[in-house]
């Protein structure tokens, strides 16, 4: 009984209990950053719907990628190829629609969209199969895929952008139009919708339970318990690539154009957003909602710095500092959740 009481006392401090929620730290960070920007901005920040719209626009691409990366990282794997996949989907879609100066085909938007999504899902499947069947770490497999798909993007686009200016269909506005009555464009709602859905999948379905378990010590325990670890990991690889490609398509529909440079820094920024959101690099521990909050933090910092007139070159430095601080905080949160036991080096 003494042990039980001790455990309860430890977590009974209000601070400890709040901190043991992974989403608490990112929520606090958003609150603090928004307050600072609001105070030092001459045009408001939270009170400016235009600025909130800009934050949302930056957040939606990054967030969509980060959501997939989160699921994959919880299942114990990485995907560094997401930035290339992000550009690949709109490149394929655009070329099929004849949206480049090098046009050839004149496909309608829907089949072009479906083919692009099928191809990026296939990229994810290849990542997953190679990783789970060869035992080469996904870090290496997807780094190789990053270079490979970057080359594909150059071949497909031949250096030229694709544009959606002539497209006027409903589907384009559903994907990337403005949301009436709000400062947001459709991609932000897509991100929130996908994020909330996957948060439920993770916490409340068998697949979610299996995803958590696959991230522990290479999925050894999960396999012993009869969980098809390979299939779970491959599904998450496909999901990650699919969402990266879909994010690229949403941005394509929103901005009206895309190039081989689209989303070029998203692979590393997505990992930053995921870590700021409280997800561990070593699997099993993490939340999808946290990663969306992480993406909102990065979007807010980028816009906020401009608004309070800090030179934009400070952005990356600040992102780096945020990353390290939140990783340290995560370690503290894990210690609290483990009932006071500090994690091992790899834990």
């Amino acid at each position: 009984m003494t042990v039980r009481t001790e455990w309860l006392t430890r977590s009974a401090t209000v601070w400890g209990r709040l901190l043991s929620h992974r989403e608490f730290a990112p929520v606090m960070a958003i609150f603090i950053l928004w307050t600072i920007f609001e105070i030092f901005s001459e045009v408001g920040f939270v009170t400016s719907s235009g600025l909130m719209g800009s934050v949302a626009a930056l957040t939606s691409s990054l967030g969509m990628v980060a959501i997939g990366v989160t699921m994959l990282m919880i299942s114990g794997e990485f995907d560094l190829s997401v930035s290339a996949t992000f550009a690949f989907a709109p490149a394929i879609m655009g070329r099929l629609m004849g949206a480049s100066i090098n046009d050839g085909w004149e496909w309608p938007i829907l089949p072009a969209l479906l083919v692009a999504l099928a191809l990026v899902a296939f990229i994810g499947l290849v990542n997953g199969l190679i990783t789970t069947y060869t035992g080469v770490p996904s870090f290496i497999v997807t780094l190789g895929m990053l270079f490979f798909v970057t080359t594909l993007n150059r071949i497909v686009l031949d250096g030229l952008p694709v544009d959606l200016v002539r497209e006027t269909g409903n589907l384009k506005s559903i994907l990337g139009g403005d949301v009436p009555g709000t400062p947001f464009a459709a991609p932000f709602l897509w991100m929130v919708g996908v994020g909330v859905t996957l948060a439920i999948v993770l916490r409340r379905t068998q697949f979610g339970n299996w995803t958590y378990s696959a991230g522990n010590v290479g999925g050894g325990v999960a396999r012993a318990m009869g969980v098809p670890v390979r299939r779970v990991k491959c599904t998450n690889f496909v999901l990650t690539a699919f969402l990266a490609g879909f994010g690229g398509i949403l941005q394509f529909a929103d901005f009206g154009s895309s190039s081989q440079a689209s989303g070029i820094d998203l692979n590393l920024l997505a990992i930053v957003a995921v870590v700021i959101g409280g997800t561990s690099l070593f699997g099993t521990r993490g939340t999808v909602i946290g990663s969306m909050l992480g993406a909102i933090i990065l979007g807010s910092v980028k816009i906020g710095l401009i608004i309070i007139k800090i030179p934009s070159q400070w952005y990356l430095g600040l992102v780096g500092a945020l990353l390290v601080v939140s990783a340290a905080l995560n370690a503290r949160v894990d210690t609290l959740r483990r009932g006071g036991q500090r994690s091992s080096i790899l834990g």
Binding site: M1, L8, R204, N209, G220, V221, M225, T284, R337
Partner: protein, 253 residues
């Protein structure tokens, strides 16, 4: 739980496993009755691990038959073995560290409820059942099934894994060095859990390289040497020292 009388829960008939020219297990036969604990002892390299892997579905025998409740089986994965009623509790692979206890307890055998036609986890029910089992095995350091498994001691993890086997009405409990590196008190906890499983009619195959570990729990002790069964003795027929000598002898002879 109805169990057919007289039929052993687990029978190994002339089971062999070769890796190329290397024979890991050769012509191994052993049967485990319901409510019986068999200790399987052998030196490192005697073939114990290969035997565990075959019974738990990681590898298939090169020849011979594994029967569960009298039925011949061929497992293609640990999932198949688990579905047949074989629950394996590994020393290091029993519990996922950072997952809540209730998620661990039901991993691979989750309980659902339908919400708007979608199969969602029935968290409330799983937390409740897991909590009952935590109470039953008397884990005093556990305040709630929502706690992560990292808060459990080694013996508590093994006990929880064993009580999970009982809950899911497994027929056979395969224990892989369950008390290695545990304190005396923790070891007693695990033995209590084994006793509990035994009293509910599970057949227990308790595998260890250390005779001293197996002796207090086992009804019969099988000694394995160089991939084969060298002898089976009843507990009480020999002292621990004599048994240890037997293992050592068979290991060098």
């Amino acid at each position: 739980m109805s169990r057919e009388e007289g039929v052993p829960v687990l029978e190994l008939e002339n089971v062999s496993r070769r890796y190329g020219k290397i024979v890991a297990v050769e012509d191994f036969s052993l049967s485990v009755e319901s409510g019986e604990v068999i200790g399987l002892v052998g030196d490192n390299g005697a073939g114990k691990s290969t035997l565990i892997k075959m019974i738990s579905g990681y590898v298939s025998p090169s020849s011979g038959t594994i029967k569960v409740m009298g039925q011949a089986t061929s497992f293609r994965s640990p999932k198949d073995a688990r579905a047949a009623g074989i629950e394996t509790v590994y020393q290091d692979l029993a519990i996922v560290d950072d997952m809540p206890l209730w998620r661990n307890f039901f991993l691979g055998q989750e309980i659902y409820r339908k919400v708007l036609g979608v199969r969602l986890l029935d968290v409330k029910k799983m937390v409740e059942i897991c909590g009952e089992h935590l109470d039953e095995i008397g884990l005093t350091s556990v305040a709630s099934p929502h706690q992560t498994a990292t808060t459990l001691s080694g013996g508590e993890r093994q006990s929880l894994a064993i009580s999970r086997a009982v809950y899911f009405e497994s027929r056979i409990l395969l224990l892989d060095e369950p008390v290695a590196a545990l304190s005396v008190r923790e070891t007693r906890r695990v033995f209590d859990a084994i006793e509990g499983a035994k009293s509910r009619g599970l057949g227990v195959l308790y595998i260890d390289h250390n005779m001293e570990h197996v002796l207090p729990a086992a009804d019969r002790i099988a000694i394995m040497n160089r991939g084969s069964l060298s002898r089976v003795v009843n507990r009480g027929d020999l002292s621990a020292g004599e048994l240890a000598d037997a293992v050592a002898e068979s290991g060098t002879g």
